[in-house]
Symmetry: D2
Subunit: 345 residues, 4 copies
Amino acid sequence: MIKAAVIGATGYVGGELARLLLYHDGVTLTTLMSRSGEGKPYRERFRNFWHTGLTLTETNFDRAAEENDVIFVAAPHGVASANITGDILKKTRVIDMGADFRLSNADIYEKWYNTRHEGRKTLPEAVYGLTELWRGRIAAARLVANPGCYTTAAITALWPLFKERLALPGSVIVDAISGVSGSGRDVRETNLFCEVNESLKAYGVGIHRHTPEIEEGLSRALGADVAVTFTPHLAPVSRGILATCYVSLAEPAGADELWRLYSEYYGAERFIRLLPPGNSPQTRWVRGSNYLDIGVFADERTGRAVIVAALDNMVKGAAGQAVQNMNVMFGLPEDAGIGQLAVYP
Amino acid sequence: MIKAAVIGATGYVGGELARLLLYHDGVTLTTLMSRSGEGKPYRERFRNFWHTGLTLTETNFDRAAEENDVIFVAAPHGVASANITGDILKKTRVIDMGADFRLSNADIYEKWYNTRHEGRKTLPEAVYGLTELWRGRIAAARLVANPGCYTTAAITALWPLFKERLALPGSVIVDAISGVSGSGRDVRETNLFCEVNESLKAYGVGIHRHTPEIEEGLSRALGADVAVTFTPHLAPVSRGILATCYVSLAEPAGADELWRLYSEYYGAERFIRLLPPGNSPQTRWVRGSNYLDIGVFADERTGRAVIVAALDNMVKGAAGQAVQNMNVMFGLPEDAGIGQLAVYP
Amino acid sequence: MIKAAVIGATGYVGGELARLLLYHDGVTLTTLMSRSGEGKPYRERFRNFWHTGLTLTETNFDRAAEENDVIFVAAPHGVASANITGDILKKTRVIDMGADFRLSNADIYEKWYNTRHEGRKTLPEAVYGLTELWRGRIAAARLVANPGCYTTAAITALWPLFKERLALPGSVIVDAISGVSGSGRDVRETNLFCEVNESLKAYGVGIHRHTPEIEEGLSRALGADVAVTFTPHLAPVSRGILATCYVSLAEPAGADELWRLYSEYYGAERFIRLLPPGNSPQTRWVRGSNYLDIGVFADERTGRAVIVAALDNMVKGAAGQAVQNMNVMFGLPEDAGIGQLAVYP
Amino acid sequence: MIKAAVIGATGYVGGELARLLLYHDGVTLTTLMSRSGEGKPYRERFRNFWHTGLTLTETNFDRAAEENDVIFVAAPHGVASANITGDILKKTRVIDMGADFRLSNADIYEKWYNTRHEGRKTLPEAVYGLTELWRGRIAAARLVANPGCYTTAAITALWPLFKERLALPGSVIVDAISGVSGSGRDVRETNLFCEVNESLKAYGVGIHRHTPEIEEGLSRALGADVAVTFTPHLAPVSRGILATCYVSLAEPAGADELWRLYSEYYGAERFIRLLPPGNSPQTRWVRGSNYLDIGVFADERTGRAVIVAALDNMVKGAAGQAVQNMNVMFGLPEDAGIGQLAVYP
């Protein structure tokens, strides 16, 4: 049994990790840590855990590392890079849910996050945890940077087109809609029910921090720099990301042709479901599950491909993919503990 | 492995049964039937099953009975009573999700459902499937009448008070709120998004068909007739039932006292979670799970107990309890395949 | 033109008052006050006012009173009673949206609100502002206590039955569902979108502060004490209250009979719409409007009347009724500025 | 008083027209027609009209034309073109809410709508009713083609950039999210609450019929052909459209510069509200109102402008703009009857 700890267990991502790990056959969830959690029953933060006896303990990276085979860090950016030292990584393996180790270039991180990167020493050890694309490296990693929710959708959606050099590098627009859980459990006016309900908005236009992460992913596919215009939107759903991704094609291609290409890349994947041409994914079909559904469209009038990806931001966009990565790291079946179907309706 | 079939697999309850049975370790889901389903991929009705190869077949009770150890019937009322014959019950065991076998008195059924009862012969064989209350009889049953969603909440909420003769029989008011999935996948104007969203309504005031079912349950507890005023409401959530149940107490009791009584009845139950006095259940903590949460309150000013119960109408209120009953009938652990925590948020 | 000020203009009720008063033909909205509002554009709090040049000023009861014919106080309880002195009432008329002057007995207030009542001197001048029931007294009032949202629904729903001595005084149960705007714009975790969405809960069971207010209203109808069990619920809608009210009838009555009785009381009312027997009100038909819709039901099996009332908690449950009261106080047509239909869908 | 009729009064757009016209000071709403409406009380379809005595009559274009100064046609496409003859237009003025007269080229209409255009004779008389852009021609028109909801947002958002030749014609991507009322009151499974709630989807990718309408509008601005990739999305809100529009700029420009340009175009408009640079519109601030809010962004890294527009699809996107056009046609103040603020929250 893999012994696992969650640091930052009181936020939504922490709760989702606990939910998935608690009933994972290959895992013993030993520890739930939060900053001032010492001794508090976990049920006080998450009443769906009412019947469990789980208790929070105070955050202590050293103790977590010593007592566990893997620790999941679900803390605000800056926390992991300040605490995940080489010493920690000798004792345990780490899956960081935050942004600290996602960008390989710390300068770019510092520019977009407007803060010092405290983990430049460990950064080179980090492997980017988009499972389907970097499975081999993840298997061997001590430190996995679990991707952002928008990023998982966007990179997966556009990867084959860049890998095949079919997409023009300057043409990428990612327009995505997220549910509200993506902004966390922070008590802010903008997250109040009456401020979100029956409303739609764009936010962080041109400046959202997932932009350089998408760019790095696509640049790796192409082997050259890719610039992205990214606009996230908020809609009144608790869970779900729908990313609609636009690229101009280097040469004309129809939907069938695109579909065949995507089939080659993703046809054998356990968690990527490629819909037939003409079908658009919907977040309701992935809600609560680790699936990432993709629809491919060709707008032949304008020479663009439009790739639509849907995922649950809490699962494939966060905790589910983290468990998928853990499974890969420890040689378990990739779907262990995360094979559930979407809960619908 | 138990071989199982679902008849009426294209409605919401059928889909939920398929979801739970597909990953149940002790079950092989052999058959999904619907009236005109012959050969259609199941994914066309439920895209969360996209990656499965499940296919619908035409409804055929005989074939389902011959090939399976248990069949779940998720059809409109009248279908099960017309088709579940003694002959069928010799070949297989049946869990009926509909109302046909819930009321022990066919005359009362005919009055409330305004239709002939076609299954008077088999009716005496039916066992009412509120698992926690009739577990022993369910274990031996060939035919289980799975309770209504409102009914499960109301009877469980009030059972101890009537069993202990603490509740005055003429004083019961059950006021409940349901999510929209409770009214099924029928394409009716009243179920359109814009007709339901941002609205609240009562419906079926004084005439809802779960009324006699609640009355029969509570009458069994008391050993005498209990009359109930029942008002269901609709709120814009997909899943969930919250039932607020009022009774006048035969003698004064405080919340602590009530809580101790309920502890005796339900403290050892796997799926009933009794909240401490002062805490009210919320459907978000049971969403997607088989739990039934109960809060007990005493309005000492007026001499009433107010018992609040929350469940997911698709799970404990339908498919989950059906699987729970199947587990009991076949000697499996009661939580096999339905132990999941609520998916939150 | 009536000169009007709103004190506490940055909450939801304050915003709704501003919305209604700004386009009221008989009113000049001179002043929007908030505690630290000095000089801030109102649009920063309410972007629906973007194109207006309205600006907040600091709260100053004296100045508001000197410069206006009427002031609306939309502040937390305790504020109005501490500031609305006899001196203020000589200079202006006041409509208080809070609870301070709703209960005629300050001792009962102190018990339920668990705080000292600072306005015992002015309390006798206050008139309870349920327009349809106390129109005459409101017309002459210097100080109107605008009713609570739940209270408006419950008292209006049950008034005729108590006035006619048809309801048994100990039998009242009010079970109501509210939208989230009722809990204000406070930034609390329980009001976050993800904590409210797709969930249903009861709260304040047996201890909600609108209870004594409902009791006082019904006691006035009966001329004797009435005790009420009141349970409020929260559902994921922004606006709306649906109150389902139960009473045992002193003598048998059918729905038609009840309907005729209610017609006599409310048939001529501009803002009360009595639906025909068998029809239940829904909040979508009153959303954004000042209407209060009533449905009358008789549960003849149990000898109860079930009266269902729907209103928009921000309009008839707060700001709209306040404007209705202002219209009465200043001799304007009762529907001036508040005659709009519900915005549907 | 202008005498007005609504044909197609039982759909959502018809209901919204009735709501706005009923309380318009300059209008007498004489007639509400629907196909089989003869004699039915309007309240049966829209209970927010409960207290009105409005009654439906059968659809009769001739009678409507003879008895009214203006008729609003809110019918499926094809109906207006088949019925609005030159003869009708001699008797009355017509505002068509459908698509029949929006495209000046009937061949393009026939291609996108896959049906014959029955009104080629009257088509040249039609004036496109995006009020702010074609006010002069609308004033004189006998037949106004009221724009689509998405189209109003997209053309208004991009007009200044094309008029000033700042946008590259092949670079336009319009990515928009709509509320569910946009798909009408048709009883289809895809519009059921449980199919829409807690879900996000794209639909009609590359083939939505508003595409050629957006293209014609922008082509008029540029004086040359503009091709558009348009992707509509559906989110679980009743009302609202948020359109995020991308263009590559012919020369570098920052947000301030763009804002100044938009100020010149829209600064004096009654219903267009230009937000300061860095601010994104949200549909909650326009809900129930005729406002169209615009936010301008420059993604200087990629040389794109991102213009975000928000409107209420039932008001500025349909019935509100129709009334605005009527006001222009009859010389009334442009905001007569439609000056209301958004109902928030």
